[in-house]
């Protein structure tokens, strides 16, 4: 129990003009651009998105075309990243694979985010027993360590990229719910919410027009970082043979089949491994940068 309420000290008048506490896009963008790491992260992601979109144009070969005469060629002029054990061009496969790996990442986060955000908003806004029930359920989901929940789901639904997406998404639901609930609680107690309530706004208006836009920053940050985790988890599941199925060029699958050549033709596993690591790195630094940009306290 806090007996004394912290009284706001008089606020700097000039500060309002000098340092916008809450950023709309413009000021956010400028802060963001100042954060070099984040820009690099963003560029990496853009680069991958570019690759994913233009894979058919960029790829020198067909990703699934088997040519057993050309197998296990080390990186060379014709095959920049070499060929795999079936003579497929690794570069082409990685280019196409970006669609799958990023697709899984985004789709899983979209799926987890949708449910997580909805539940979090409801729990945070309505509170009381609804909050208790929803958050206890989230606790239960969180009680499954790491990717075990995803593993259990995939074991039940069977291995496929879609099931992996669902499983990895399910595993992000409670994380989103928690963050959204926390931010909702925080925003809900802000005076403008009370102001709009005392104008007679409906709950839907308040939640979607006044709360949601103001908690987007933690959601976006979390979303970005979750994409990274989702890509890693999906690759892990594929590595265990529970994810994408051949001849798919999902990177985890490529890595998984490449690990047999780790000692003889390491490039088969190295390049997809690097592709994953680099993309995940991109999302991670982008997410970090976003967090810094959104969080006024992080400003130096």
């Amino acid at each position: 129990m806090k007996i004394e309420m912290d009284k706001e000290k008089p606020l700097l008048v000039t500060q309002t003009i000098d340092h916008p506490r809450q950023s709309v896009f413009g000021s956010f963008f400028s802060v963001f651009m100042e954060n070099k790491a984040a820009v690099v992260g963003g560029l990496i992601i853009l680069f991958y998105i570019f690759i994913a979109i233009f894979a058919p144009v960029l790829a020198p070969y067909h990703p699934h075309e088997i040519n057993l005469d050309n197998k296990l060629i080390p990186p060379s002029m014709e095959h920049w990243m070499g060929t795999d054990d079936k003579g497929r061009d690794i570069l082409s496969r990685i280019l196409y694979g970006s669609r799958l790996s990023m697709g899984v990442g985004f789709a899983a986060v979209a799926f987890g985010g949708f449910f997580g955000i909805t539940l979090g908003l409801i729990a945070g806004y309505y509170g009381k027993w609804l909050d208790t029930i929803i958050m206890r359920c989230m606790d239960v989901l969180l009680a499954f360590p790491g990717i075990l929940l995803a593993l259990a789901i995939v074991s039940a639904l069977g291995p496929s990229l879609i099931n992996v997406t669902i499983a990895v998404g399910a595993f992000s639901v409670p994380l989103f719910a928690r963050i959204v609930r926390g931010s909702t609680l925080e925003v809900k107690q802000l005076e403008y919410i009370d102001a709009i309530r005392s104008l007679g706004a409906r709950d839907g208006t308040i939640i979607f027009k006044h709360i949601l836009p103001n908690i987007l920053s933690p959601i976006i940050v979390q979303g970005t970082l979750r994409v990274a985790t989702a890509i890693l988890s999906a690759a892990g599941l594929s590595f265990l043979g529970l994810g994408a199925q051949p001849p798919s060029s999902e990177w985890g699958t490529m890595l998984s089949s490449g690990r047999d050549f780790l000692f003889t033709a390491p490039y088969i596993a190295i390049f997809p491994g690097l592709a994953i690591a680099f993309l995940v790195l991109g999302f991670n630094i982008f997410g970090d940068g976003l967090r810094d940009a959104f969080d006024p306290r992080m400003k130096k």
């Binding site: 007996i3 004394e4 912290d6 009284k7 000290k9 008089p10 606020l11 700097l12 008048v13 000039t14 500060q15 003009i17 000098d18 100042e34 130096k300």
Partner: protein
């Protein structure tokens, strides 16, 4: 009043913040001095540079981005600005100590308060752990905390705001400093508690004889506790005078405006005076007088050149062209502020 010796003298102190958005001249050339046993008030609106001034004295400005760009802080003749870090540490908490505005956050939440006081004592006095603890308990007693032995073992969250502020005071005074800087020590407290704390500081000052710099935005607090007042505006001191003088005969249009815009507990007024406009940004200070844009008397010269802090015949100092010989306009303050 017997002439007392000056222990602290600030000369032309400048503290700037170098940020990506430019240079913020938070404190831009201020001068004042403090005598033993005297209380100097620094008042001003939010953001005018009061806290930065006090932090600059103890060299506690976050660096980067902040930096003391010039001037001197003479403490018993030594310039603190040029001391080495370790020499500076010997002064902090020992000869000059400080209490802060937020009693809720200014104490370490995970260390028992007694230990926090004892730490200061052991840093500066040759005492062992036990003696220091005993002294800490004495200090708690001195600042009027009931059952100090018990309280010493508690952590800050177990104390109320008023009590924490007392702990802060105990800590600050534990080494008998010669100067106590109190940065808005009561702003966060309720009036009844504020009254207790102000009374306590006054008592202790009488008992221990230190010089006090009382930073506040509340002119009431100044009137009640200070001998001298410096009124700050946008990084400058605009008026510097004995308290009685200042309230009896405020000179700077800003000071006058401030006093006039204050609702008073002991009088009824139909309408309050208002100072229009707002403080210029600390990143882009105007060339001339910083108050010119809001000043009802401003003439062309006010916008062109910044006035000096000029000494008035009654001993107070004002930074206003109106009191200089070059002033050509009318002096019609009385009609405006009445």
């Amino acid at each position: 009043m017997e002439p007392r010796e000056t222990i602290l003298e600030v000369k032309n102190l400048k503290t700037y913040f170098h940020t990506k958005r430019g240079i913020s001249k938070a404190v831009d050339g201020i001068d004042f001095s403090l005598k033993k046993g005297e209380t100097l008030g620094i008042v001003g609106e939010s953001g005018c540079g009061k806290s930065i001034t006090s932090l600059s004295i103890l060299r506690l400005i976050p660096t980067p981005p902040g930096k003391i760009e010039g001037g001197q802080v003479l403490f018993k003749g030594r310039d603190l600005v040029t001391l080495s870090d370790s020499e500076m540490r010997k002064i902090r908490g020992n000869e000059i100590s400080m209490i802060f505005q937020e009693p809720m956050t200014s104490l370490n939440p995970v260390i028992p308060v007694g230990e926090q006081i004892a730490e200061a004592i052991r840093l500066h006095q040759k005492m062992n752990k036990k003696e220091a603890r005993a002294k800490a308990i004495d200090m708690l007693k001195l600042v009027g905390i009931p059952s100090p032995e018990k309280r010493a073992k508690q952590e800050p969250f177990q104390l109320s705001g008023g009590m924490r502020q007392r702990v802060m005071i105990a800590m600050a005074l534990s080494c008998n400093p010669e100067v106590l800087i109190a940065d808005e020590p009561t702003t966060a407290l309720d009036v009844t508690i504020q009254a207790q704390i102000l009374e306590l500081i006054k008592d202790l000052q009488a008992k221990l004889g230190m010089g006090v710099i009382m930073i506040t935005h509340d002119l009431g607090v100044v009137a009640e506790t200070c001998n001298k007042v410096a009124v700050m505006y946008a990084g400058n001191i605009v008026e510097y005078a004995a308290t009685q003088n200042l309230f009896d005969e405020p000179k700077h249009p800003y000071t006058r405006g401030l006093l006039a815009s204050l609702p008073k507990i002991d009088e009824d007024k139909e309408e309050l005076y208002t100072i229009e406009g707002s403080v210029p940004s600390s990143y882009s200070m105007p060339e001339g007088c910083r108050f010119a844009s809001r000043c009802p008397f401003a003439e062309a010269m006010c916008h062109q050149k910044q006035p000096e802090l000029l000494e008035h015949q009654d001993g107070s100092k004002v930074r206003c062209w109106m009191y200089s010989n070059e002033w050509t306009g009318e002096k019609r303050q009385e009609e405006v502020f009445s």
